[in-house]
C-alpha cells in the first residue's frame, strides 16, 4: 500500500476509489459541496463524508441544465453529477453558501437523484440571532442524518467526532506550518493533492495519512528547490493541481494559501467545551473566512478592512511571502466584490499582488503563464 505523499497522490488521481470501496462494504457515503457543511455530524452518524468537486475536463452535459453565465465550478460539479460520476453517493448535503450553490439545489435534486438530500441554510450575517438560527439548522440536519443513518447521534458521539476532525485540522496545520521553511519541504502542488485526498476518505484514515505525510516530509524527503519568490495564493475553489503547478513551474514556491480547499477549511477548530452544535455553528459561521459571510465593521474603514483581511496579511508575514496571487473564478460574486479590496489592502501592506480572473477551466493558462512570469520578475 502506498504511503505518505504517494498515498495522497494516488487518491488525488482516483478520488472516489476509497469511497466506492467503503460503499461496497456496506457503508453509506454522504456528499457535500463547499467548506460549510459540518463533516463532524456526518461522521457522528456513522456515515462517510465526501466533498464533491469539479474537474478541468470540458463541461459537456451540464449546459442542458444550467446557464453558462454562472459559476463554472458549480457547473462542473453538476456536469459530473449528470454524468453519473457521483452515483456512489447515498446522499447529499447542500448548503446555502452563495447564490450559485443555493440556486443549483433544485436542479441537482431534480437531475442527480440520491436517496437522501438535505438543504442546510447558512445565514449570511454574524449576529447572535444568526448563530442561534444556524445552531437550530444544525439540529434539524442532525435529526435528518439520524433518520437516514438509523442511529442516534448522542452528545458524546458528536464530541468524539469533533475531536477526530479537530485532530485532522491540527495535522493539516502542522503540515502547513512546515512550509514556513526555506525551501518548503512540500510543494503547493503536493499540498493540493493532500487536501483533495483528505476530503475523499473517512477522517480516521485521513488522519493516518496526514501523520504519515508529516513524518515523510519532516525526515529528509527531497522537497522542492528553493525559489526567490515565495507566494501566497488567494481565491475560492482550486481543486486541481494545474494552476498551482503552473505557478511553481514559473519559478515560485507556493508556501501558503487562502483557499476553500486549503487553509480556509482547516485553520480554525471547533471548541470542545459546551454544546457541540453551538460550537459547530460558531466555527462555521464565525471562523471560516469566506466573503459570503458578512463581517460587521468595528468602526472605521481601516478597522473594517483589518477585521476582514488582516489574517491574509498575517499569513503573508508568517510564511515570509513576497507576493500574492489572487485567483478569482468569474461569476463568484462575493469574491469578485472583495477582490479589489484584498488587492489594495495587501499592496498597502507592501505585498505585491497579481490579480487573475479565470473561468475555472484554465483554458487561458498560457496567458496566465506570461503574466505570472512577469510578476515573478517584478518581485524578485
Amino acid at each position: 500500500m502506498a504511503k505518505g505523499l504517494d498515498w495522497a497522490k494516488r487518491l488525488y488521481e482516483n478520488r472516489s476509489q476509497r469511497a466506492k470501496e467503503l460503499r461496497e462494504e456496506g457503508n453509506k457515503v454522504i456528499g457535500y459541496i463547499c467548506a460549510f457543511p459540518p463533516r463532524e455530524l456526518i461522521t457522528a452518524a456513522g456515515l462517510v463524508p465526501y466533498r464533491i468537486t469539479g474537474t478541468l475536463e470540458p463541461i459537456t452535459e451540464a449546459d442542458a441544465y444550467l446557464e453558462t453565465l454562472m459559476c463554472p465550478y458549480v457547473r462542473s460539479c453538476l456536469d459530473l453529477g449528470i454524468k453519473k460520476r457521483y452515483d456512489f453517493l447515498d446522499g447529499m448535503i447542500w448548503p446555502h453558501t452563495c447564490d450559485n450553490i443555493q440556486k443549483t439545489f433544485d436542479i441537482w435534486k431534480h437531475y442527480v437523484p440520491h436517496s437522501y438530500f438535505h438543504y442546510l441554510d447558512v445565514p449570511h450575517m454574524p449576529d447572535p440571532s444568526s448563530f442561534e438560527f444556524f445552531t437550530k439548522e444544525l439540529d434539524v440536519l442532525k435529526e435528518s442524518l439520524e433518520e437516514f443513518g438509523g442511529v442516534k447521534i448522542t452528545e458524546e458521539c458528536l464530541k468524539e467526532a469533533i475531536g477526530v476532525h479537530n485532530e485532522n485540522r491540527a495535522l493539516l496545520r502542522q503540515l502547513t506550518g512546515l512550509r514556513k521553511q526555506a525551501p518548503p519541504p512540500i510543494s503547493g502542488t503536493e499540498m493540493t493533492q493532500v487536501m483533495m485526498a483528505a476530503m475523499s476518505i473517512p477522517v480516521y484514515e485521513s488522519n493516518e495519512m496526514l501523520k504519515n505525510i508529516i513524518e515523510e516530509v519532516s525526515t529528509g524527503k527531497d522537497g522542492p528547490q528553493e525559489k526567490t519568490a515565495r507566494l501566497l495564493v488567494y481565491g475560492c475553489e482550486i481543486d486541481d493541481i494545474a494552476f498551482i503547478n503552473l505557478v511553481e513551474e514559473c519559478g515560485a514556491n507556493v508556501v501558503i494559501d487562502d483557499l476553500c480547499m486549503g487553509t480556509r477549511d482547516y485553520w480554525k477548530d471547533v471548541a470542545t467545551e459546551g454544546d457541540p452544535l453551538k460550537n459547530l455553528a460558531d466555527r462555521i459561521l464565525g471562523e471560516i473566512m469566506c466573503p459570503r459571510t458578512f463581517r460587521r465593521s468595528p468602526g472605521t474603514r481601516q478597522q473594517d478592512l483589518d477585521n476582514r483581511f488582516s489574517y491574509i496579511r498575517d499569513f503573508a508575514q508568517e510564511f515570509n511571502v513576497n507576493g500574492t496571487i489572487l485567483y478569482i473564478i468569474r461569476y463568484c460574486d462575493t469574491f469578485e466584490f472583495d477582490a479589489p479590496e484584498v488587492r489594495d489592502y495587501l499592496e498597502e501592506a507592501g505585498i505585491p499582488v497579481l490579480y487573475l480572473e479565470d473561468d475555472y477551466s484554465l483554458t487561458s493558462i498560457q496567458g496566465f503563464k506570461t503574466r505570472i512570469q512577469a510578476f515573478l520578475e517584478m518581485i524578485e
Binding site: 453565465l69 452563495c98 440556486k103
Partner: protein
C-alpha cells in the same frame, strides 16, 4: 465626498429607449421616480441608500427618505448614461460580470468623490448624500456585498441584515417556522435599532403599524391588479407597463401614494377588462416574460414585439406572490411583516404542489412560468439571461426544461444585461424573436 449641490433636472434623454406606455397608471411612474430623487434633496430629511428588501415601511415610519441605487442604475440604463459609471467601477477592479446595478452604483460614488460634485450627467439630479446605507441578503449575495464596498468612496455607516427563506421540504414544520420567523424578526429589529441609533430617535410603533397595514392593502391590490391583467384576453396591461408599475410597491410601499397608485391601477385594469379593451389590435401571440430582469437600456424592444402582433401579457420577474392572510391577533408590525413573508413562502410551496413540483422550485428564478402558461393562455415564453445577475438568471434553463416536459409551447432565451449596453445586440435579439414568431405561427397552423 463634497457637499451636494442643489439638483437641477436638466439631463436630456439622448435617445428614446423606453417602451410606449399602454396604461395611464404606467405613465405616472416616471413622475413618481423623479420625485423620489428630487425629494431626497429638497425635503430636508435624512436620506438612506437602501437595497430593496420589502422593508420600505420602516423608512417611512422613521421619516427617512430611502433612495434605491438599484432603481437609479436602471434609470441610468434607460437614459443610456450608465456606462461611464460602469467604466469607473471597472477601473477600480470590479469585474465586468459583477452586477451592473452595483457597478453603476459604485461608479457613481467613485465619480462623485473624484469630481467633488455629483456627476453632471446623473439623471434626475443624482442620488442625494445618505446618512446610512442598508443592504440585505434577500434574493442575491450582491445585495449585502455591494454596499459593504461603498466605504472605498464615502464614509457612511452601513447595516446589512438577513432575510432567509425556508426550503419547501420543511416549510410546514412548526419548529422550522418558529426558527425562521424568530430569526427574521430579530434581523428586522436589528435594523430598527440601527436606525434609531443613527437618528437618535425611537421608532413610533403605532405609526409603523398603520403604515404596515396600509402596505398590506397595497400589496393585495398590486397582486390582484397584476393577476387580473394576466388573465385578461385581450390584455390591457402588457409586461412593459408591469415592469414600470412595480416601482411604487418596491420603493414607496407603506405610503399613501403607493396605495392610491395600486387602487388606480386596479380600477383602470378592471375597467379595461370589463370593456374588453386590449393593448394591440389583435393578440396574435400571447407571450410570457418568464424570467430575468428586463433590458432597461432598450425597453423599446417590447414595441418591436408588438409590431409583429405579439404581446407580453405577463412578466414573472417582479412578481407579487400570492398574499398571506395575516390574522389581526398579530399586533406587532414587525411580526406582521415577517409572518406575511413566511406565509407567502407556504403559498408558493402550495402552488408548486399543485404542479407536482413540491420541493423542486425553492430557489430558482423569481416566479415559476409554469404557473401562468395555461391560466394566461400563453403561446410562448421568453427568458432573459443576464450576464451580471445570478439572482434572476440561474434556474432559467431548469424552468425551460420543465416547460418543455409539461407543455408544447416554445421557449426563447435572449441574452444581454439589465444595464450594461455593451452586452446587448439588437440584431441578434430581433433575429431570435422573429424565429420565435415563426415557430408559434407554425404551431398555430398545425393546430397545436
Amino acid at each position: 465626498m463634497s457637499e451636494q449641490k442643489n439638483p437641477e433636472v436638466t439631463q436630456e434623454v439622448p435617445k428614446r429607449t423606453s417602451a410606449k406606455k399602454w396604461t395611464e397608471s404606467a405613465k405616472k411612474v416616471r413622475g413618481l421616480v423623479r420625485d423620489m430623487y428630487v425629494r431626497a434633496f429638497t425635503e430636508g430629511k435624512p436620506v438612506a441608500w437602501v437595497m430593496f428588501t420589502l422593508v420600505n415601511e420602516l423608512f417611512v415610519a422613521m421619516d427617512i427618505v430611502p433612495v434605491y441605487p438599484e432603481n437609479f442604475a436602471g434609470l441610468c440604463a434607460t437614459k443610456r448614461v450608465g456606462n461611464p459609471f460602469i467604466d469607473r467601477a471597472e477601473a477600480d477592479g470590479f469585474s465586468n460580470v459583477s452586477c451592473s446595478y452595483a457597478r453603476i452604483g459604485l461608479g457613481y460614488a467613485a465619480l462623485w468623490k473624484d469630481m467633488g460634485e455629483i456627476p453632471p450627467f446623473a439623471p434626475d439630479g443624482g442620488m442625494a448624500k445618505p446618512i446610512m446605507t442598508v443592504g440585505s441578503s434577500l434574493v442575491c449575495d450582491t445585495r449585502y456585498k455591494w454596499f459593504q464596498t461603498y466605504s472605498r468612496y464615502m464614509d457612511v455607516p452601513y447595516y446589512a441584515f438577513d432575510m432567509p427563506s425556508p426550503p419547501a421540504a420543511t416549510v410546514y414544520r412548526p419548529d422550522v417556522r418558529e426558527q425562521y420567523i424568530k430569526y427574521n424578526l430579530a434581523q428586522l429589529q436589528g435594523l430598527v435599532n440601527f436606525m434609531e441609533e443613527r437618528l437618535g430617535k425611537k421608532m413610533d410603533w403605532d405609526k409603523l403599524d398603520e403604515i404596515v397595514r396600509r402596505g398590506e392593502k397595497t400589496y393585495v391590490l398590486w397582486y390582484d391588479a397584476y393577476m387580473l391583467a394576466g388573465r385578461a384576453v385581450p390584455c390591457p396591461f402588457p409586461a412593459e407597463d408591469s415592469f414600470n408599475c412595480f416601482v411604487p410597491a418596491f420603493f414607496l410601499m407603506g405610503k399613501v401614494e403607493a396605495l392610491d397608485f395600486y387602487q388606480g391601477l386596479y380600477d383602470e385594469i378592471k375597467y379595461k377588462v370589463d370593456n374588453k379593451m386590449g393593448s394591440i389590435p389583435e393578440e396574435k401571440y400571447r407571450l410570457l416574460w418568464g424570467g430575468g430582469l428586463p433590458p432597461w437600456h432598450t425597453m423599446q424592444i417590447f414595441n418591436y414585439v408588438e409590431e409583429q402582433g405579439a404581446l407580453f401579457v405577463f412578466q414573472s420577474t417582479y412578481l407579487p406572490l400570492r398574499p398571506a392572510d395575516i390574522p389581526d391577533r398579530i399586533t406587532n408590525p414587525l411580526e406582521r411583516m415577517v409572518y406575511g413573508r413566511y406565509e407567502t413562502a407556504i403559498n408558493r410551496a402550495e402552488d408548486d404542489k399543485k404542479l407536482g413540483l413540491f420541493g423542486l422550485c425553492n430557489f430558482v428564478g423569481l416566479g415559476n412560468p409554469l404557473l401562468f402558461v395555461d391560466e394566461f393562455k400563453v403561446d410562448g415564453v421568453v427568458m432573459h439571461w443576464l450576464r451580471s445577475c445570478r439572482g434572476t438568471t440561474i434556474g432559467q434553463v431548469y424552468q425551460k426544461n420543465l416547460l418543455e416536459e409539461r407543455t408544447s409551447i416554445p421557449t426563447l432565451f435572449l441574452e444581454s444585461d439589465m444595464c450594461d449596453i455593451r452586452d446587448y445586440f439588437e440584431a441578434d435579439w430581433k433575429m431570435k424573436l422573429n424565429a420565435l414568431f415563426e415557430t408559434m405561427e407554425a404551431r398555430k397552423r398545425a393546430g397545436s
